[in-house]
Symmetry: C2
């Protein structure tokens, strides 16, 4: 199976996407095709043997072939009298962690142009890329979340008890996130967050809370889980540290929380995944507080696909790729238009 | 302002979209441009003076010019040596009530290709086109919803008390919806609903409940509401009756629920709209039960834009069109890539 990795994108996480995508060369045995989406929303085909991060920061990617997206795939321009040539691959793997990827824009393009893709479908993207919607969704499927308040630009923000953690609703990778320890720090944190988004959530900051990451997917109705990891973290991961995380390819260390908690974490994952996330491999980050499991966030396109959490990532990804959700056929009918015309006698 | 009405789409509501779009000729004074999306996901430019529903049922629309969608707009093919010509319009008005429209697919295309549009943004589409997500969202913004249970294909469905109303989560216009009066009717209703969707919700069917519709939008931070209407309905509206509803252009009759309830309905609308639905004009359908307001559903692209609920629909739509949300500039940086390269000394 030939996999096209689609990366880059108009996103605060553009760079992370590049690093994450290059990491795939080390962990996937498939023939890979690299499709870069640049800041002008132009697609380029980057040859796999020369790809490196500097190509993008230098602008040198522009010397490679431009692609257009159209029905059933990506196409290279032909000459004046030759036809466009389709780029050869079997499925696309979207590896854009913020805008264009996790927000559902490119998933919509793939739906529209009938391109098979391994990534969350549009609904799953929207739910997981907006922390406010994630909270509501988790509650709907009976998964605990930490209490929160939701504010939009212009709302009066009142905080009763510090410290709190303040997050723009729509960005990942800790961008725009602040821990606010006192009233004096609040205005600055609000300014920072509103720089990135018009809506924020504020949660109590629970010092010393343990976070655990579990990745997984579903193949033919059966869940496939990664090991559970307790990620390294400072007070919370800032962008620099998370960035390095996106290039991880060496196997993580498993943590055992005991049977009861291990099961609770998996049950919570299943409730989140079912069935909104079909077609994707996601990583859920959980807190454990007083022996209960809370969802922190859903990474619907996790950094380097969370490969480092799986025993045989290559085999699993290929299994998912071979079992993508089928599109439902929607018949177009003109029954009612015809009925009206025959009633009118014309 | 020249408005491009984008309609059709791969959708169970394809026909309704046609009827709804043609109705715009009667209620908008703007110069209109019609862009039809057919079942093969090809766009066509239909001349405004000849548009009628029969053009589509007969397939005659194919004799008009094909369009391609690309950066900043829609384009007509030029000759062999002439350039593609952009179709001239100021903003697009998406009038697809089901798939491709309300599900966020075309909104994503417009985001991707930088085309200004009057319609819900992608997140708003996803939340309002999925009844399960709508329920969760309404609860998150403190708007009442009728109790419900959520099931996906394969789940065991147990109903304690009949009658219930059973709905596929993702379709509008009552498609696939059944009122189930007894256990014996349940399997058939499930088959019908699962024909259209893999997930359903089941609610108690409250006989004789009153439904009220309120449409509205926000212009420069200020809410603009329509009159409140109590729509005509049989036990519940079936597709035929709703279909006729989509061509409505004559003014509806206002209903006054008294100051307290009128205010409650508007407050609920505001909480739903804010700020997820910016850039769109939506219709919310509410129930009133025991003097409390419950959200039934959000029509994020209402039939014929709910023009019949507004005193001066033409003026309002033009106001919204002139105040569409601005896109945030997302700077692409290569700070971290550069940092790594300078650390590595290459």
């Amino acid at each position: 199976m030939k996999i096209a990795i689609v990366f880059g994108g108009v996103s605060f996480e553009h760079e992370i996407s590049i690093v994450s995508s290059i990491a795939m060369k080390d962990v996937l045995k498939n023939e890979l095709v690299y499709i870069f989406l640049d800041e002008n929303r132009e697609f380029y085909h980057i040859p796999t043997d020369v790809i490196k991060s500097k190509l993008f920061s230098s602008g040198d990617y522009k010397k490679f072939d431009k692609l257009s997206i159209a029905k059933n795939g990506f196409y290279k321009k032909g000459g004046l009298f030759s036809k466009e040539k389709p780029l050869d691959f079997d499925i696309a793997l979207t590896l854009m962690h913020g805008g264009d990827g996790e927000d559902g824009v490119v998933a919509s393009l793939f739906e529209f142009y009938n391109i098979p893709y391994l990534a969350p479908r549009v609904e799953a993207c929207v739910v997981s890329s907006n922390k406010f919607l994630t909270k509501g969704y988790a509650s709907s499927v009976d998964v605990n979340v930490v209490d929160y308040k939701y504010f939009t630009k212009g709302d009066e923000v009142k905080v009763d008890e510090f410290p709190v953690i303040l997050k723009p609703v729509k960005l990942g990778s800790s961008i725009g996130v602040s821990i606010v320890k006192s009233k004096e720090e609040l205005d600055y944190a609000l300014d920072v967050a509103y720089e990135f988004d018009d809506a924020i959530i504020i949660e109590p900051f629970i010092s010393g809370v343990k976070e655990y990451n579990l990745a997984g997917t579903k193949v033919n109705g059966e869940f496939k889980f990664s090991i559970l990891e307790e990620p390294q973290k400072a007070e919370f991961l800032d962008f620099d540290k998370k960035y390095l995380d996106f290039s991880r390819t060496s196997k993580a260390k498993e943590i055992d929380l005991g049977e009861e908690l291990n099961t609770k974490v998996k049950e919570a994952f299943k409730r989140i995944y079912n069935n909104l996330f079909e077609g994707s491999l996601i990583r859920c980050d959980f807190f454990v507080i007083d022996n209960e499991v809370y969802l922190n966030e859903i990474n619907s396109i996790p950094g380097s696909m969370a490969n480092y959490l799986f025993d045989d990532f290559n085999a699993l990804l290929n299994e998912v790729a071979s079992n993508l959700p089928k599109r439902k056929h929607i018949p177009i009918s003109y029954e009612y238009v015809n009925k009206i015309h025959s009633a009118k006698g014309k």
